[in-house]
Symmetry: C2
């Protein structure tokens, strides 16, 4: 029995034979992703490079394997690609810890307090050089050893946890699994830390470290001895790329201000004295460690990590650097190339008669809506509302003619709303309101939850277009439709469906009907029931509820006085395909199947007239759907 | 008479009075954009800063106005916001020329040749320091004077134009208007160029300048004396942000490789010794000039320029720097913050029976399509196909079960397709084909033109969903529908529309019909005609053509043998709302209005049966549209 993979599919080919059936099981795997294959090919290609030598400081008998190689790519939706046998091998994080402890210090103390201790300038120095400002002793940046020591010195214990414990906890949340420090690595590191000792005391002499310098040194070396895998680093990188949310666990680990700062410093100072060439040829904020790890971040899009121990003269992994260069080029991961144009977020606006609600309006109402058609515009917005998209949205709304009094933003295709967008929309709402104009939003994903737009003074938010347009139509009818005050009651003799019949015919027809009454919430007709006659609504509202392909119940439309239902089942093998539910008390007149049969026998000419009228009514609906669908095709 | 602004609207309020009508003209301006207001407020705010002193070298009597202030923001779709009275004041470009001449040199010689002369590393030196590699004499980067001189020395004449002329032409294309050099500015610059003279000779001594060093110096100072406005610089910046296309003129001015390189160097070295703090607090590649200009680029989204002469100690405009800082923060224009999450480009796939074509299939065909429903998936993609979006698209397609043999990518909401996406889609196409599976694309904007996907071995590309799905349905029917070989001929007695009638009734009905034949392209029924009877298609195909709200003609559906048309006009006041056109030769049987009248008189029970059958048929259509629209609501 072949192994059945997770993504596989069993195809059973059943063929009739002389003696019954022959069953062939075909095991077809889902197709390999081109991204996966690219990573596998790249790994094989880059593994031909055998330059460089691994870091020499390690516990006895723990020499790193120079051939170990792994590449992991984590996406912002939490998918992790891995290539190479060493993707899950643990190694010491070393300098790749620097940006993360920097993030923790920024969260603990705020940007300004940390800036006082550590500058933001590229040093151009190799990582172990002493690069302090001659007057203040301030290290050039947090990515060199001096800066990292100053940062770690700022990390104190808290909440019943020691500083080293807090660091381990923080890194674990970034990686999405429990990490730990390897004591034997720490032991050899502390025995080989003369330069870092010197740096710590020098920083202390300048008052940059205001605590015991050996405590800072020890905590720094403990953090450097944290064991991580390539997969861990990819997830940590992806957590930076999302702006601070671990895409696998969903936990918010770092605030966006700190992420912005950390990635900015990594961009200019992450790769030691190669910073400029790195920014040009790779274009991703990155950090390498002598343990063989390399981490790179494509903001908003992906986190990348490589593990390969042999190092170049800067102390960066030779294969790690090459892998980043190649991926940046082949996968267009450079920050300039990967920047997406944002000006096209706004689709053309349509009016509500082009996309009417699913309410079947009376003819008078429909005529008012047609007359004030251009008073309401629906603007569809797609993508993420960051700067450029927000700008084009705001421009589109601001540029609308003043006679547009209701602006509907269809934001169902928006995935992310920046604070900027919320502020700008709030500004638009207020200024439209000052002109007695309104903003209405269609959005179902809770993107605006907790923002001022969602509050008491917020905007009406609808999850579907139908209900939003219905709301707008009602607004327009209230404002402009005094002549057509809602007809709450339509005697069956005035039902538009039978208007082609003459008065005498209609009067005769009514004698075949039976009156019925329903309470709010009553199911009048249920899915699956046989044809139960033609129902004329005399007063009240009836909701038509169906199911969409995913099985969710959706309200298809709302019927009101003067309209009919029930005849639709004639189109689906005489079975009711939708449920009709009373929305408030409802009065009906019903032509039952039995009454119809009698009518067809007693008075065939009237029956012909009735059916002809109902056909006309049905075709009015078809016509309307056709027109609506024609709009959608180009919407 | 009030001035009528471009964006204004004239509202005429007409009221009946005793003596006729009173006409009030209301001049309502379109609402001011919140972005515009933000820029105006910011300008006012920042203009309170009066620190700094303007550059002292200028022609006699041409002292710059320290209060002059302008801010311009150009979007990637070519809209330019301006704030401040000095937005259109000309001034000297000075060092802001450096990235652009660098781009020209990269285009002329390629990245490697330019790299040999100029390095990519941040110098940490002020702009006029001598910052050459001690051994090679190579300047640290192209943003300091030494690097800029080396770059200009590489720019030669060509195509009948001198080097200075080529530079002016190139800058003019970037700005979208004819720029020129101010000779009087050049004259004072050349008299104050001792340091630059020294630098040019030093570069010559190292062989970095291999030509006459004074020629390079003169060309450099000519370029620095180019006169630009704040608006020009914003458009030049936006040209970098689009990846090299001037968003106002639409001209492709720089290739993406050069743009990537220029912006990378600007990111690490654009703002002299403030590079790190700039990257952190502004996060946009930028360049300033002593003329008072500051230029910043948000890749993919916008170009920003500020003009204000007073300079800080680094030689950058005080207000320019502050404006960039404030805009980055307030408008979230930092490269990290503005990076958009890309993992959500793929919408859930739907099958073709959820979104059927507009062809009315026979019942047998419909049953085959239902049976092989899951053999075809439609995947909708939105946004720009850069790295993350491409990855998620490729992952979605690769992860489809192997029984999905036709994959339709609906790319109508895609705005940009990267080379990466083209390569990955091409890879998918090839590998699907190897499994005898197919890729089909819906895309109307020509995004794939000229790519291998559009070639002879490419994928079928349809501009609309209807035609793509029709194509897929046909593929499925050819593959699986041997039992239902297309019924090219359906005798009217077997027409599904009248199937509820018994055989005797149908035979009687046919005696009322008249046969008709049409040639390919014949208009059978035209918009606006009165109800012309019920048309039964015996053989051939008929296209239903309507108009969408923009007035374009759209094919609404295609009818084939066994189907009916013409009765739809009963739903629109007896007027034909669509045109019916023969697609190849067509045979019909028609129940004319006169025949119907006779039938209703002669044989009322049969007329009842007919109308009842037609009503059922109409409701089958309504049912189908309702179901289709329920899908679209969530699509």
């Amino acid at each position: 029995m072949p192994r059945v993979l997770d993504d596989s599919l069993i195809l059973l080919s059943v063929r009739p034979t002389g003696s019954g059936f022959s069953v062939e099981a075909l095991y077809a795997e889902a197709m390999e992703s081109p991204i996966q294959r690219h990573l596998d090919d790249l790994l094989q290609d880059v593994s031909r490079i055998t330059d460089g030598r691994p870091y020499s400081v390690h516990p006895p008998g723990r020499d790193p394997d120079p051939d170990a190689f792994g590449i992991c790519l984590a996406t912002v939706d939490g998918h992790v690609y891995t290539a190479g046998a060493a993707a899950d091998t643990e190694f010491s994080i070393h300098s790749i810890s620097k940006p993360f402890s920097y993030a923790l210090a920024l969260a603990d103390h705020g940007l300004d307090a940390v800036d006082e201790k550590v500058d933001l300038e590229p040093s151009g120095d190799p990582f172990n050089e002493i690069s302090l400002s001659p007057d203040s002793g301030r290290p050039a940046n947090a990515m060199i050893n001096a800066g990292a020591l100053a940062v770690v010195a700022m990390l104190k214990g808290g909440g019943g946890k020691s500083a080293p414990r807090r660091i381990v906890d923080f890194y674990s949340r970034l990686a999405g699994r429990r990490l730990s420090v390897d004591q034997s690595v720490y032991d050899v590191e502390i025995r080989n830390s003369d330069r870092n000792h010197a740096l710590a005391y020098l920083l202390s002499s300048f008052g940059i470290i205001d605590d015991d310098p050996t405590r800072a040194l020890k905590n720094y070396l403990r953090q450097c001895s944290m064991q991580v895998t390539c997969r861990d680093l990819a997830v940590m990188a992806a957590t930076l790329s999302t702006g601070g949310t671990n895409p696998v666990t969903g936990e918010d680990v770092i605030d966006i201000e700190s992420v912005e700062r950390v990635l900015s410093v990594m961009m200019t100072s992450g790769m030691y004295d190669d910073a400029g060439s790195w920014a040009s040829s790779v274009g991703m904020p990155a950090k390498s460690g002598v343990g063989g790890g390399t981490l790179a971040v494509l903001p908003g899009q992906a986190g990348l990590a490589v593990y390969s121990p042999p190092l170049d003269r800067h102390g960066s992994s030779v294969r790690g650097v090459e892998t980043c260069r190649r991926l940046s080029r082949d996968m267009e991961m450079h920050f300039v190339r990967a920047a997406r144009s944002g000006g096209s977020a706004v689709r053309r606006g349509v009016s509500i008669t082009e996309l009417p609600s699913r309410i079947r309006r009376t003819e008078e109402e429909a005529s008012v809506l047609e007359q004030f058609d251009d008073a309401c515009r629906i603007i569809a917005v797609t993508g993420d509302l960051h700067f450029a998209a927000t700008e084009s949205l705001v421009r589109a709304v601001s540029g609308l003619d003043a006679h547009v009094t209701i602006v509907v933003l269809d934001m169902r295709q928006v995935f992310e709303v920046s604070d900027l967008a919320v502020r700008m929309l709030e500004d638009l709402r207020r200024r439209l309101l000052a002109d007695r104009r309104r903003l209405v939003v269609i959005e179902g994903g809770g993107l605006l939850e907790g923002t001022p737009l969602d509050g008491e003074d917020g905007v009406p938010i609808f999850s579907g277009r139908g209900s939003a347009v219905e709301y707008c139509e009602d607004l327009l009818l209230v404002e402009h439709g005094d002549a057509v005050a809602e007809r709450t009651r339509v005697p069956v003799l005035e039902s538009p469906a039978i208007s082609p019949l003459d008065t005498a015919q209609r009067s005769r027809l009514v004698t075949y009907m039976e009156p019925r009454a329903h309470e709010d919430g009553d199911i009048i007709r249920r899915v699956g029931q046989r044809f139960g006659g033609v129902h004329f609504i005399v007063s009240g509202r009836v909701n038509t509820v169906g199911t969409d392909p995913s099985g969710s119940r959706v309200r298809l439309n709302t019927l009101s006085a003067g309209m009919t239902f029930g005849e639709l089942s004639l189109g689906s093998e005489d079975r009711q395909e939708v449920t009709e539910k009373a929305d408030g008390p409802v009065e009906l007149m019903v032509l039952t199947p039995e009454a119809l049969e009698r009518l067809e026998k007693d008075d065939p000419p009237l029956a012909v007239g009735l059916w002809r009228a109902l056909t006309r009514d049905a075709y009015m609906l078809v016509d309307r759907y056709l027109r609506e669908t024609a709009v959608r095709l180009r919407y």
